[in-house]
Amino acid sequence: MAIKTEPFVLNIGPVHPSTHGVFRMRATLDGEVVLDIEPVIGYLHRGIEKLAEQRTFTGFIPLTDRLDYISSMSNNMAYCMAVEKLAGVKVPERAQYLRVIIAEMQRIANHLIANGSFLNDCGAYFTPFLYMFREREKVVDLFEMLSGQRLTYNFMRIGGLSQDIPDEFLPALRRFLDKMPAFIDEYDRLLKENEVLLARTRGVGIITAEKALNCSISGPVLRSTGYSWDLRKADPYLLYDRFNFDVPVGMQGDCYDRFRVRMEEMRQSVRIIEQALKDLPLKGAVRADVPQRLHPPKGEAYAHIESPKGELGFHVVSDNSIAPYRVHIRPTSLLNLTALREMVRGWKVADLIVIFGSIDICLGEVDR
């Protein structure tokens, strides 16, 4: 006689080490197999879009730090670019080069955390994580040199940067760039053909390119499917059309490909910074003349960048007052979760954690 079984509902999160913040999943299980999940979010909702309407255009910049707090510089930059588009501000060339350098450093720092915590989820408890934090620390030190902060930088301004870089920044960046490729090689030696990692991630959580596009997925998750779509190439902003770099893509869209794409993107970021450093004008303004009480003309503008996690955009509406009429944040992390349900169905609970970890979300951005 067969044993009677029935589905079991397991609540994972909101406070759980593998949920990267306060994400909650109501998982319906058949034994160890995941039948369905329902993402429950909003535990970190602070109403940032509403708060923007009560602040000046410049006053909103510190709040963008609190979106994807792993890569605050990118958030600052995307918002400033949207307001610049709206107000017709032209950013000086030196500031644009520095923005490229900072954005790519931020990408390296983000991918180190993303891959480090992903390996944590795979069960390599904290060893690779600490290796990767070793290098991220150096990026954070450099950012501290620029802004005095180590997490929420608030460094970009409308029209450029808040201040010029200090004298000791470029030599320190040089030392970092000289060492970084060797560090990436070290991770590769440790992990690229690691049998345990391959067994846990190869073929797990596959998503196709069509599905990813239909679900508005962007960034490394989209590129892991083999589809080359990077806004730095597709819709170049700042000075990205001046640099040579490749867009790494995966083969089949599984967890391993997402991991590999991030590793390769770090190499490309180093390449971009090298080129930007070579061309960086040594003198010049780092901020355009923008009035402190900026009131852009009536209208709306959308600017998007390829943030480390994907397409990050700000839709800003102005009614010619000193505060934005409406700010909409295109949340990369939230939209990348759209297909999570389909990706985890049929896998075991341990794989659910791995698949979720491979997407690389930040709850500050999911909940806003």
């Binding site: 509403k50 679900c215 508005s216 779509w229 597709a234 819709d235 397409e311 839709h315 909409h328 295109r330």
Partner: protein
């Protein structure tokens, strides 16, 4: 470079295909009649020479007299984009048809707009509040909320 398609030209083509579907077409965007939104969106997605396969985002703005819902679409094949807008004049019970059938990426975003702006999307598979809890009163992103 992503090319922003001219709303006026595309509007002419859509108005021929679906009479009454385009309320206004300016170079920046197309203002679509809400009742024909799914037809227009489906046309933009399925016609091979337009092929809008990617929905960048949906957002909504409260202008007191009406709510404006903004859809930005991109074709990753041809690298061009278009902005659609639809307006709801009924403040008490604003309703729009859902585009979740066409782009699954709309799922969370429509739930978010329902949650924060109070616009209902007809045909959405699971229209619940996304960020706030179920018993929450009001819709915070409306201009008369605070």
């Amino acid at each position: 470079m992503t090319i922003a398609l001219s709303g006026t030209e595309l509007g002419k083509r859509l108005a021929e295909k679906f009479p009454g579907s385009i309320v206004e077409s300016i170079p920046d965007c197309l203002l679509v009649n809400p009742s024909l939104l799914p037809e227009v969106a489906g046309f933009l997605k399925d016609i091979p020479d337009l092929d809008f396969n990617y929905l960048n985002y949906i957002t909504s703005v409260d202008y007191y007299e009406y709510f404006e819902v903004i859809y930005r679409l991109t074709s990753t094949k041809y690298n061009h984009s278009i902005v659609l807008k639809a307006r709801c004049y009924d403040r008490e019970n604003p309703v729009l048809p859902s585009v979740t059938e066409l782009w699954q990426g709309a799922n969370f975003q429509e739930r978010e707009i329902y949650d924060l702006m109070g616009i209902r999307f007809e045909g959405h598979p699971n229209l619940k509040r996304l960020l706030l809890w179920d018993g929450f009163a009001g819709h915070p992103l409306r201009k008369d909320y605070l």
